[in-house]
């Protein structure tokens, strides 16, 4: 009896907790309202199941708890009832899966006009690369990295010369412009995660991964690493500033391009970069065109 009361109390308590909880999704700052609505549909269907199944459980305990002289009913099975329940469950599943898959269909379909920006992870910081005026990221890879070329941009690739390299932990994006975030890691797995954007994706060394989104709100947001990457995992932070087109352009104009980096480096350092690039026997795996 007490356990039935406890179950009802836990169900009601969960509903109250849900309604009063100060912990809920952060305000959405990207185009991924379809992910949010798939989540909300899933929540409603699951809540109905959670409440009704547990109340049925409590009711069964109360009505059929042992009292002297009671005897259970003998009923091995009821195929009709089982078929009905299977049908309704299947319907609930379809109701959740359909919006989920529709949202995923958008997630995997990068718009043709999306701007490309690269986020690079390493233990335990973020750096960023923009493609420059030509709109194309040059090839890059660990095999091109030298102390003076920390991004590992291939100096022999003309597309890489105008790439804009951002050393700090700060990414800027223009509001309202779709962006394909191209992700690569210098060392271990990381994950580019901005809670307000909803989207996230792992960075995998040896691969180029990506996702896309459109920032819809001006503001400054945290970038977190969401894939365990060692003892500094919790400190691997960055910021993303979403701002109007004009201020974004102004900011971008102040950043250094790879050409400028080459011009400022000592001749020995440049020689070393080219020596390394020329000695590469394997093609760069990070190239994105």
């Amino acid at each position: 009896m007490r356990v039935a009361i406890a179950i009802v109390a836990l169900v009601l308590g969960s509903i109250v907790f849900h309604l009063l909880s100060p912990w809920w999704q952060t305000p959405l700052a990207s185009n991924w309202d379809s992910i949010d609505s798939a989540l909300h549909i899933t929540l409603v269907i699951c809540a109905i199941a959670f409440i009704s199944l547990n109340l049925f459980l409590a009711l069964a305990i109360v009505r059929f708890r042992h009292r002297p002289g009671n005897r259970a009913h003998y009923a091995p099975e009821n195929p009709r009832l089982e078929r009905t329940l299977t049908f309704w469950t299947g319907l609930g599943i379809v109701g959740m899966l359909a919006p989920g898959l529709v949202a995923w269909g958008k997630y995997v379909d990068v718009p043709k006009d999306a701007a490309v920006v690269e986020a690079i992870g390493q233990q335990w910081q973020w750096t960023f690369r923009y493609p420059g005026p030509d709109g194309v990221l040059g090839t890059a890879g660990v095999q091109y990295m030298t102390p003076d070329n920390p991004f590992g941009v291939n100096p022999l690739d003309p597309f890489g010369r105008d790439d804009i390299l951002v050393q700090g932990n700060e990414l800027h994006l223009p509001k309202g412009k779709s962006v394909k975030l191209v992700l690569r890691s210098k060392d271990v797995l990381h994950d580019f995660y901005v809670p307000e954007f909803r989207a996230k994706m792992d960075l995998v060394p040896g691969l180029v991964t990506y996702f896309w989104m459109t920032p819809t709100t001006n503001g400054t947001f945290d970038i977190l690493c969401a894939e365990l990457c060692g003892v500094g995992h919790h400190e691997m932070r960055g910021t993303v500033v979403v701002e109007p087109r004009e201020s974004f352009e102004a900011w971008l104009g102040q950043q250094e391009s790879f050409n400028q980096l080459l011009a400022m480096s000592s001749p020995d350092a440049v020689t070393e970069m080219f020596r390394k690039a020329n000695s590469c026997s394997t093609p760069a795996t990070w190239g994105v065109r």
């Binding site: 009913h73 091995p76 329940l85 469950t89 003892v231 500094g232 400190e235």
Partner: protein, 582 residues
């Protein structure tokens, strides 16, 4: 045929010495207890580690001796111990060993010597695992998933020695499991007594049987992954290691795929969830049926649901990898297969509830744990639909929502079943009875406590709090109240931790001083309660094996004199066989 093996008394070498009886024992019951005690002992280590984690998360900075590397080591060891060395070993090595021969009417496992070997090799794997705490650098801190490259790269605790003891221990464990698993499967298929058809077996045996088959198919994937990573680490191969930098230096690895490891790991890892869940499903079915004095509702559907879940669970592994960087188009397939598996799982839940409906429910401690399981499993199963539903998973993956979900569904739920099962079978295993009051207190604190621990975690996850963080630090989106939630969770966790000592006290004290138990205190129909001795002697059944005339669920049969009819009771007017009605 099966009966010739089961009825053959010749291979029964009754042990003559204390060592032969209790140490190098080939008796399935002793081996089961050895497995169970070892698993619970190492589980206690994992329990302590979880408290240490909660101390850090609830009160960051208060315990300066918990550094980030320690925290990650706690996380990793806690996870691996709980999933593999506690749950798998206890449910299959412990309950599987004890229950299979007794429930199917056999004298022992078909390969008693291999069975003994399985335990000792398991013990070795546990010792190698524990040695990780004492090697230079301590145990691995790569997370229980052990993802390369970080598992064997600079910046991860235990990347030199700890990872070797972990991978070595896993390989040894898998050898031990294979010996046990082959034994369980062969015994179920070959050693059933007269009349014990497959469709008369208790669901406990079905759950353990299918889980063993799954283990035999899934563990090899982990085995090769462990060996390949050991080769990468010790011999410098590059199965999982791409060209990369480690701490500013170019590594001498090239061309390997970190994703390959993730596929191998989860090809094992997802079926592993069901390797733990299916025995728990089976056991809880029997607890509910016995204590509700009613046959399990839709037995045949329950059996098929176990088989279908077992099969489908091999087709869903990449739902752990939606944001891993694998080809995103896989998401469509794996989301669909994952949500389909919810249908047979839901059927099981319905059938448990319908078993209670119109029952005669005795709310004894084992039944309370079974009911608590229903509540936590409904909760954990439903939150799984969020994570399986690919696009909904994207914001939630790697957050505390995942932590809340999997603890609810494969931590709390099976452990509640294990508690229920221990209370349920303790009188048969020990011949003594535990204390009801202590059992009740243990139940209430554990049940309400775990919900207080895990419900708020889901909400922190929806907020976006990432998992495996030593400290949240400064963020713009996590309010001060979330730190309060973490404190409350930690306090609840410590209370639940403390309550477990009531359980241990209850079990150990009453082992020595408890009142003598009735051989069948719950009035159960299945065969393990019908042994001539309690606890059952070596060989289980005395001179003659039992003959089975009915299924394990003849409770409250109309016109029968008692509200249960043992499986080995021949049909008569007093004990009609209603099975024909099926």
């Amino acid at each position: 045929m099966a009966t010739t093996i089961a009825d053959d008394l010749r291979p029964m070498h009754h042990p003559k010495t204390w060592v032969g009886k209790y140490v190098w024992s080939q008796d399935h019951k002793v081996i089961a207890i050895q497995y169970g005690v070892t698993a619970i002992a190492i589980g206690l280590v994992a329990l302590v580690l979880s408290v240490l984690m909660r101390l850090q998360l609830g009160f960051p900075g208060l315990f300066p001796w918990i550094q980030p590397e320690n925290y990650l080591q706690y996380v990793s060891m806690h996870g691996m111990i709980m999933v593999v060395y506690l749950l798998t070993a206890l449910l299959l090595g412990g309950f599987g060993n004890y229950m299979i021969p007794l429930m199917i009417g056999a004298r022992d496992m078909v390969f008693p010597f291999v069975n003994m070997l399985s335990y000792w090799i398991y013990l070795l794997s546990v010792l190698v695992l524990v040695s990780g705490f004492f090697v230079p650098g301590g145990p691995t801190g790569a997370g229980w998933t052990l993802y390369p490259p970080q598992a064997i790269s600079e910046g991860t605790p235990g990347n030199q020695w700890g990872i070797v003891t972990m991978l070595g221990s896993l390989a040894i464990f898998i050898i031990a499991f294979t010996m046990g698993g082959l034994n369980y499967v062969t015994t179920v298929l070959q050693a059933r007594t007269r009349g014990m058809t497959l469709m008369r077996m208790p669901l406990t045996v079905w759950g353990i049987f299918i889980a063993s088959i799954m283990g035999l198919l899934a563990f090899p994937a982990l085995f090769v992954a462990a060996i390949m990573m050991l080769l990468d680490h010790l011999l410098g191969s590059s199965f999982f290691m791409p060209a990369m930098m480690t701490m500013g230096q170019e590594s001498n690895t090239q061309g390997g795929s970190p994703l390959l490891f993730q596929h191998l790991f989860w090809f094992f890892g997802h079926p592993e969830v069901y390797i733990v869940a299916l025995p728990a499903f089976g056991i809880v079915s029997d607890l509910i049926s016995v204590h509700a004095r009613k046959n399990i509702f839709g037995y045949r559907m329950m059996v098929w649901a176990i088989v279908i879940i077992g099969g489908l669970s091999f087709l869903v592994w990449a739902h752990h990898m939606y944001v891993s960087g694998m080809n995103p188009y896989f998401g469509f397939f794996f989301a669909t297969s994952t949500l389909i598996i919810a249908i047979p799982t839901a059927i099981k839940v319905y059938n448990w509830l319908l078993t209670l409906w119109r029952g005669d429910i005795h709310l004894r401690v084992p039944m309370l744990f079974a009911i608590a399981f229903l509540f936590t499993f409904i909760h954990g199963g439903l939150t799984g639909l969020f994570l399986g539903n690919v696009s909904v998973d994207v914001p939630l993956s790697d957050t505390f929502f995942v932590v809340g979900h999997f603890h609810m569904v494969m931590g709390v739920s099976p452990i509640l079943v294990i508690f229920g099962a221990i209370y349920h079978w303790y009188p048969k295993i020990t011949g003594r009875m535990w204390n009801e009051t202590l059992g009740q207190v243990h139940f209430w604190v554990t049940f309400l406590g775990v919900y207080a621990v895990y419900l708020p975690m889901h909400y922190l996850g929806i907020l976006g709090v990432p998992r495996r963080y030593y400290a949240l630090g400064e963020t713009s989106f996590i309010p001060e109240s979330a730190h309060l939630a973490n404190e409350a969770i930690s306090v609840a966790a410590i209370i639940v931790f403390a309550a477990q000592f009531l359980f241990f006290y209850n079990m150990i004290w009453n082992l020595l001083r408890g009142p003598k138990a009735d051989p069948n205190p719950w009035g159960a129909a299945s065969l393990e309660w019908q042994t001539p001795q309690t606890p059952p002697g070596h060989g289980n059944w005395g001179p003659h094996l039992p003959t089975v005339y009915r299924w394990a669920y003849d409770y409250s049969v109309p016109h029968a004199s008692r509200d249960f009819i043992p499986q080995n009771e021949p049909p008569s007017a007093e004990a009609p066989s209603e099975e024909a009605a099926l």
